[in-house]
Symmetry: C2
Subunit: 153 residues, 2 copies
DNA sequence: TGACTCATGTCAGAAGTCTGACATACGGTG
DNA sequence: CACCGTATGTCAGACTTCTGACATGAGTCA
């Protein structure tokens, strides 16, 4: 492999390592949530609503990193199951503020505990300082990627 | 929100921030790859083959973080398009060693340059030391998540 | 040798998410 | 006021990936 310039060194590529970590987290979450009959997006939606009651479909979608169309499908299912409620008419604009029901809150409790355990397992080998460092690094990367591509002028 | 213990503080949850960063990377990659007519998994497969020629379907799947069934679907398409080749019969066992064709290598070149630019943009605000720190942190997290759940004995 | 275990390749069906499209509601500007 | 751009909710169809299942080949061990 002493070629001129391989596209990206997989073993040291931070993009690849970020994907690897995220994938591992995804699998671990799926492993604990699927026995509860929930998907990760399903859980994310409930958790978002618990912390920020009244979020709209579009806001939930952004918070769970899916399109608003996908979130809409999910919300309709959650509504049918009685886990969330939305007003029939928008109080202002078109946004429908969503709320957790008691049943939704109860289902979230179990899931949230499981997710917390996964996160703690992930961070088991990092002290508080390292965790803080990681927060800063991830924030910086996310910001850099979100930032407009810097036109070539 | 002065409840006892909300499931997870979204703004400081490393799990959530990891997902956010990964999602931002995913979007940025999609933005540069889709004009080239490639998906991220499509690119990942080609990149893996460039660096590790002869990988089997299952090995590619693990490297691209998808199931071997998904990778199989993709490989058949790539084979039809003449980007990769696989022997008709396995030289040993069942594993079919896959190779990049000249066409595949050429397509990869363009994509790889674009991906490299995205990764550099992501890391624009981090010096070498911080990037190294980030590698260590991500590796530690991935290892902790992959590690067996530590039975409760 | 025969039985068992494990990894692999592949097919089929199901589930989740995405893109495209349309209608509605708010805000700014002529 | 009328127009336009933006944001939202929603429906429909397509795509990607997943889970489930089966058969093949290699290695281990009695």
């Amino acid at each position: 492999m002493s070629q001129g310039e391989p596209g990206i060194e997989l073993d040291t590529s931070l993009g690849y390592m970020l994907k690897a970590a995220s994938s591992a987290l995804h699998s671990a979450l799926e492993a604990v949530l699927s026995p509860l009959g929930m998907t990760i997006t399903h859980y994310s939606c409930l958790e978002l609503l618990a912390q920020r009651p009244g979020l709209s479909n579009s806001e939930l979608a952004r918070g769970a990193f899916v399109t608003r169309q996908s979130m809409n499908v999910l919300l309709q299912a959650l509504e049918r199951q009685g886990l969330v409620i939305r007003p029939a008419r928008a109080p202002v604009g078109r946004a429908l503020p969503t709320e957790l029901t008691a049943l939704g809150r109860r289902q979230l409790e179990t899931a949230s505990a499981a997710v917390r355990r996964v996160e703690q397992a992930m961070l088991a080998d990092l002290d508080a300082g390292q965790q803080d460092q990681m927060r800063r690094l991830l924030t910086t990367c996310t910001a850099a990627l979100t930032r407009p591509p810097a036109s070539a002028t």
